[in-house]
Assembly symmetry: C2
């Protein structure tokens, strides 16, 4: 193979990095914790963004854009928000450089110090609610359903490509409502949009749930989430949707006159997913040969490689392939004919396997005589000989089959890895030996949650929606409990 990939069993973390770097998704940058998203990785993000953006618009949202920089004082206006976000962030203190009088470089001009420091947005609730104050006067201005695609920055100490980077790309929805009920409905509607996207496009089964109070977004009344499981048994939070109550409306004094002409504070939600989803996608489906991408979001769905010994053979293959490419494209299938002569077919096969292209078609001179092609699916690595007659319909079906198979495989793995534990010993043993989600009783206190985390590194991922009620005792304290919650070690 052209590029060596560490196997999962050898070193899972290195396997992940190999896929991201050698698969052409991202690269390190000279700025600590920030990455470069390479063209193939960015095409993946564009595909995901386009699907999500349509879902947001179909549910009545509009896009807008708010400033990158937030006055420092804004962060302090919502008491718990400042605790969560004001700490590790990039601070702009000056607005000018000047030539270094002692050297040939440039230095910060001490005379260009800002009166108030500006923070690069770690999230935009504060600047947006400060703006909503001007936009909302009456119930007629509500609901206000706005989304923003943007870069944000959180100064992380230990970073990993896509999973945890200082700068990342995301979308953040920020909505304003006249009643608590409407806002809660919006929160769960968007959670469902995320779950739909994860399951039906990313082929990623998710648990829909609500966070325990200590895992809530800073400033939220309730944080809903979707939680996915990676192949190493660790969980990954794939999206969150927050019911913010009237917290931000009160912090920024956003009141509206309701239908009875009385003033009331506005109810809020916010919700987001980020380029972290690319990390989840890589870790959930890929194998030791490279990426495995679900056809519905793969930047390239089909690659065709010619196999020939001379120009005459090549010309015949070119002609037949041109017709196939045209037909595939007219059926909405993205396809590339890689007839470059600077690499042998075997090298190309390995390269497209590494890049996770769902279907590979190889056509040789003999194949052409027999009116067939060799078709290989990336997910199972199965190869089959298909007649060139009607191949477009077969490929179309095959792409759907691959999409479904990737989902089913991930779901079978996830379902096998939700395990009940009834004692703390069992809990610890399952975490170490099996991994995955552990379903266990918890006494509902933050102290117990914290102790479990310290002893096992497992956190409460969520309390699943529609969770069955069941009397039991907390695995740590033995105190009574009414339901099991899902614990896991997580990214």
């Amino acid at each position: 193979m052209s590029k060596e990939i560490t196997s999962r069993s050898e070193d899972y973390a290195q396997w992940y990095n190999d896929l991201v770097l050698k698969g052409g998704l991202a690269d390190y940058s000279p700025v600590k914790g920030c990455m470069v998203i390479k063209p193939y990785g960015f095409a993946l993000w564009e595909g995901m963004r386009d699907v999500l953006d349509k879902m947001f618009k179909d549910t009545g949202h509009q896009n807008a854009y708010f400033p990158l920089l937030i006055p420092k004082s804004f962060l302090s206006k919502e008491a718990s928000h400042v605790e969560g976000f004001a700490k590790e962030c990039a601070v702009v203190t000056h607005y000018r450089l000047k030539n270094d009088p002692n050297g040939k470089g440039v230095i910060v001009d001490p005379e260009a110090k800002l009166e108030e420091e500006l923070i690069i947005r770690p999230t935009s609730e504060t600047i947006i609610w400060n703006t909503y104050k001007d936009w909302i006067q009456s119930y007629r201005d509500l609901p206000l359903l706005i989304n923003q695609w943007a870069n944000v920055m959180r100064w992380e100490m230990r970073t990993r490509l896509f999973l945890r980077t200082a700068e990342f790309l995301w979308q953040e929805g920020h909505t304003a409502h006249a009643t608590a009920q409407e806002a809660v409905e919006e929160t769960t509607r968007m959670l469902e949009v995320y779950a739909d996207f994860a399951e039906n496009f990313m082929a990623l089964p998710v648990v829909r749930g609500v966070k325990s109070p200590s895992e809530r977004f800073a400033g939220a009344v309730d944080t809903y989430c979707i939680e996915a499981l990676m192949q190493d048994g660790k969980a990954l939070q794939a999206g969150t949707s927050h019911f913010l109550g009237q917290n931000f409306a009160k912090a920024f004094d956003v009141q509206f006159s309701n239908k009875e002409n009385k003033l009331d504070y506005v109810w809020a939600t916010s919700w987001g997913v980020s380029t972290r989803l690319i990390g989840a996608l890589v870790m959930a489906h890929s194998d030791d040969s490279g990426l495995v991408l679900p056809p519905r979001i793969a930047p390239l769905q089909v690659v065709i490689v010619p196999i020939y010994k001379n120009d005459e053979q090549k010309a015949k293959i070119d002609e037949r392939v041109a017709a196939i490419v045209k037909e595939l494209k007219s059926n909405g299938i993205s396809v590339k004919y890689d007839d470059s002569d600077n690499a042998r077919p075997g090298w190309k096969f390995a390269e497209y396997e590494l890049k996770g292209v769902p279907v590979r078609i190889a056509i040789g001179a003999r194949d052409l005589e027999n009116n067939v092609a060799e078709v290989a699916r990336r997910d199972t690595k199965e190869k089959m000989s298909l007649s060139l007659d009607g191949i477009t319909a077969r490929i179309k079906d095959l792409l759907e089959e691959i999409q479904q198979n990737i989902y089913n495989k991930a779901k079978a793995y996830r379902d096998e890895h939700i395990t009940p534990a009834n004692t703390f010993e069992e809990f610890e043993r399952l975490l170490d030996e099996k991994g995955g989600f552990i379903s266990a009783h918890w006494d509902g206190t933050a102290e117990t949650e914290e102790q479990i985390k310290e002893r096992t590194k497992a956190t409460i991922r969520c309390i699943p929606l529609n969770n069955p009620q069941e009397a039991g005792v907390c695995i740590l304290t033995g105190k009574p409990s009414t339901q099991r919650v899902l614990f896991a070690r997580a990214y």
Copy 2:
């Protein structure tokens, strides 16, 4: 009318601000020089972005994403680049806040000072060429054709919504080539893409040209540009495409082995357009009633307003309109049926006029009986009664006619406002009394250019491509000149 718009003759600058603010395009923000792009303005940008993005991809480019923050030392690596961009920029010096021990807010943690300051990108040549060093080894890695959609920041002292803001959105293409010729071809190819977009989508006639040396991009060998004319006679640079020579390759030591296996520095281009284009669009076409948007990029092309006295009439109109809306949409026309009952038709008419919706259809009970509708076009304010039979085809034609008419009107104005001047007195008088582009001889020196600018505030906008050669004398110095160049006062 619902919202007062200052007329152009009264106060052109205020007219512009009124349109941007009251037309729902943008809003001021609490951060100096930064604006909020409101949903209607952002929809306009999305439409423009989608068209441009397809043009970039059709010419072989891929999108990627590079870090927001650039190490300070990078800016100094290219000598003239640092002069142009290192001065007025946002500087990140710290990465943490902490609770103020003397108060209830947060302060910058002095212990969290960065070893090297980071600059919010004013443009990305430096960080990108630092990365290209890792990506380019051989001629086989070339050309590298990458574009980035991003936010950038330049600390501007005097800002204006869209036209000049500290933070703005743009795209920046950064390409790498094996030969100077290829890079020059890329530079002019992208200039032509911009001109095509401006003329055929924005309905904005532009002059294609090259900048004089003192107006070049900092670090460029040649800067090509498209220049448009606004209704007040001032020019506006609508896009630039730079041939960077080997300047950045040398600054970041990016060499490749060519086909003869010899090392050579890579040739570069960069090119960009920004949200400034929205300002150009507003100022080029709009009138005293509000925005006038070309149909091909208008977020909403057609609005339908019902006129009725009772529910029975309304029900009949609803039914007929539903069929029209369906047919328009299936023809790719964006349409909104505004049957909200919180505003009278007259108020709605004024509102959609303000927002520049190209076609307005009003349907009353009597119209329905006569099988007609009143159709008003935004550009000429002409009204006509159209039969409901075949109205979709008529509307489709009308949208094209409006697109063409807006372009023709702007082109006639622009063509009338390219005026030759043969003496400095004539030059000054034309600038003051007529405005527009003045075509005049210049001796080719930066000194003369600077003197003309100081005395008249006019700059050389460009030396047009394929400029006719003509012997003459410089309007200021009387020295010999071989061609006329275009001067104007500009945004």
